[in-house]
Symmetry: C2
């Protein structure tokens, strides 16, 4: 079996690592000849919108998918999974939220902002503080600005005036959660336990899972409603805010997701394998957790390997990317680890990111 | 980090699958250009005894190891791990058993057989029935014959007269077990739970682990004694017979081992990762089981993938080798599966091997 993947980053790499033992072979399309996934499959170097490269990607493939959603949905090969409609919706924050509200799923209040006047009207309606965001191409905290007063409104408008915008209510939430859901070609669905996510600088730092079991049922209901409406096939990540009024949908990602990396070691079947099973029409695998996992992203630079693997229960995933500030270079999942060991891992990651030597404190085995 | 591996079969493939996420890159030496490990590392095509190929394998490597022990120990690159002494010992059934007895570790009674006369003397001493085996190059039941009477003795002598032999007592045992042990460069040791192994036609079919907890302590003591005596670094597999008198050592394999494949999903750290940690001087990872595992080998041909993955808890590993009678093409590990699902998996494997369509009986999810 051959799977074509638009994008050759770490998500593509981990798809191939999950799929190779099943006999699946991979082909990736990425503009960079150094794309990490090139190590585990054929790499077609080309732009995401390059029709002939996309045709090569799809040629003879049993399924075509993507690990990166910021490419022109209209360029997506015929039969791409998750379906092009889901891709297009998730590329537009406004369409995403309108879909949620149409399905009766709560979101923060929002308003379309296509002009400076509309921004004023939106502020009037939503109130301040609020978030002004580009409707498209935002990721890792890019393409958004907090608006606290009229001055912010003006500067955010200038800063983000690259396309249509959306103003969103700044909701008070107790924590950020995400649910990973998967739907097969035959409509079979499965849901992983919730992850509780911590961001800093707009970048995911830590996911703990399974978390918030009391919210699991509501989260699964939200995800199921989206999966069915979108006639979805594959893994869908739904980012959620936990508030006093219950869960609000923040954002959708129509692909395997950083907050689901814990499933590699922490669940019966990983999100990567289940995504592949779904798009290839295979039965889905179990999503039950096999322990308590903490996933720590390695950002900017990586700690010494010998220090990480000295922590009991640590599973290291380095993507083979060159260090660069703010760049996701790898992650470590600790399964059933003590809070001391989790703290030690967080310190290792923070020290590496800040370019400092690894801290002396170390777990005693 | 770069690791050179003599041999590019499925054990090499799984070493690389375990090491790639740690940032380890691989180089393999194998006579076949189709060696499975070629998919995940650089493949040097050449004979195991080819000095220039071995030099290329070792060049700039942080460690050199092997996944196949039937190559000339004297050709092993300097500094190879596990050490050349352990390799040489394990290549000779007589040396292996003499080492055990020197360490006070029980084995079946045995006698050296270098001539037809010595065979008669050995039969006199050991009694019949007994096993006549080549001292070297035996694997998967090859290079051995049961001797029940004088006629067998003559035909076995003719059949096996390719080198020095050993006659072994045919011990009555209740089950075959194996223990996987690992020793780091600094002498740190760790032991996995025992596997209970079922062979047919001289080929391992099924391993269940962890098994025989009441024998764990004795097995770990046996393995520890061997690890220390051999100044061992890496994973060592010790095959054992469970008898009324306790455990007897049957055979050593100075490498990762088929009966340890369950550790990929069934233990905190896999045998493959721990072998790499050991030879690279990294701290060892936990060896505790994370459930109850049954590993089923796929021999000769493979069942339809959709039938295997329909079984809850099934983890598939296909090596990418062409079907051939008696050939190990992959394995499936079922974690915490029901006995019905295990039985269904055994049937799938047996039907595929016999060239029959997959049985209709299927697990209800």
């Amino acid at each position: 079996m051959i799977v074509g993947v638009v994008g050759g980053g770490q998500l593509g790499l981990m798809l191939a690592q999950a799929g190779d033992p099943l006999g699946i072979r991979f082909r990736f399309l990425d503009p960079s000849p150094d794309a990490p996934a090139g190590r585990v499959g054929e790499l077609i170097v080309g732009d995401y919108g390059d029709a002939s490269a996309l045709a090569r990607l799809a040629e003879g493939a049993d399924a075509v998918t993507y690990e990166f959603e910021n490419f022109p949905a209209e360029a997506a090969p015929a039969g791409v999974l998750p379906p092009a409609g889901a891709l297009a919706t998730s590329q537009d924050r406004l369409a995403e939220k309108e879909l949620c509200n149409r399905l009766g799923l709560a979101t923060a209040a929002f308003a379309r902002v296509d002009s400076r006047d509309e921004l004023e009207v939106a502020i009037e309606r939503i109130g301040l503080p609020a978030m002004l965001k580009t409707r498209r191409l935002g990721y890792d905290g890019k393409g958004q600005a907090v608006v606290r007063d009229a001055t912010d409104a003006e500067s955010a408008w200038v800063e983000l005036a690259r396309g249509p915008l959306i103003l969103e209510e700044l909701v008070p939430f107790s924590r950020e959660l995400s649910v990973l859901a998967v739907r097969g070609r035959d409509g079979e669905t499965a849901f992983y336990g919730l992850a509780e996510n911590t961001h800093r600088g707009g970048i995911l730092r830590v996911s703990r899972a399974p978390a918030a079991p009391e919210r699991h049922e509501q989260a699964a209901r939200i995800a199921l409603s989206l999966l069915n409406e979108l006639e979805y096939v594959g893994v869908l990540a739904v980012e959620l805010f936990d508030t006093e009024a219950g869960l609000l949908v923040n954002e959708l990602a129509p692909r395997v997701h950083n907050s689901g990396h814990w499933t590699i070691e922490g669940a019966a079947t990983s999100q990567f394998e289940n995504h592949l099973r779904a798009i290839l029409g295979l039965p889905l695998g179990g999503t039950e957790a096999v322990g308590s996992s903490v996933m720590v992203n390695l950002i900017g630079d990586t700690p010494p390997l010998e220090r990480i693997v000295a922590l009991p229960g640590a599973h290291v995933h380095l993507y083979g990317k060159a260090p660069r500030p703010g760049r996701k270079l790898g992650h470590v999942t600790l399964v059933d680890a003590t809070e001391d060991d989790v703290a030690a891992m967080l310190e290792l990651a923070a020290s590496a990111e800040q370019g400092q030597p690894a801290p002396a404190v170390q777990s005693i085995r």
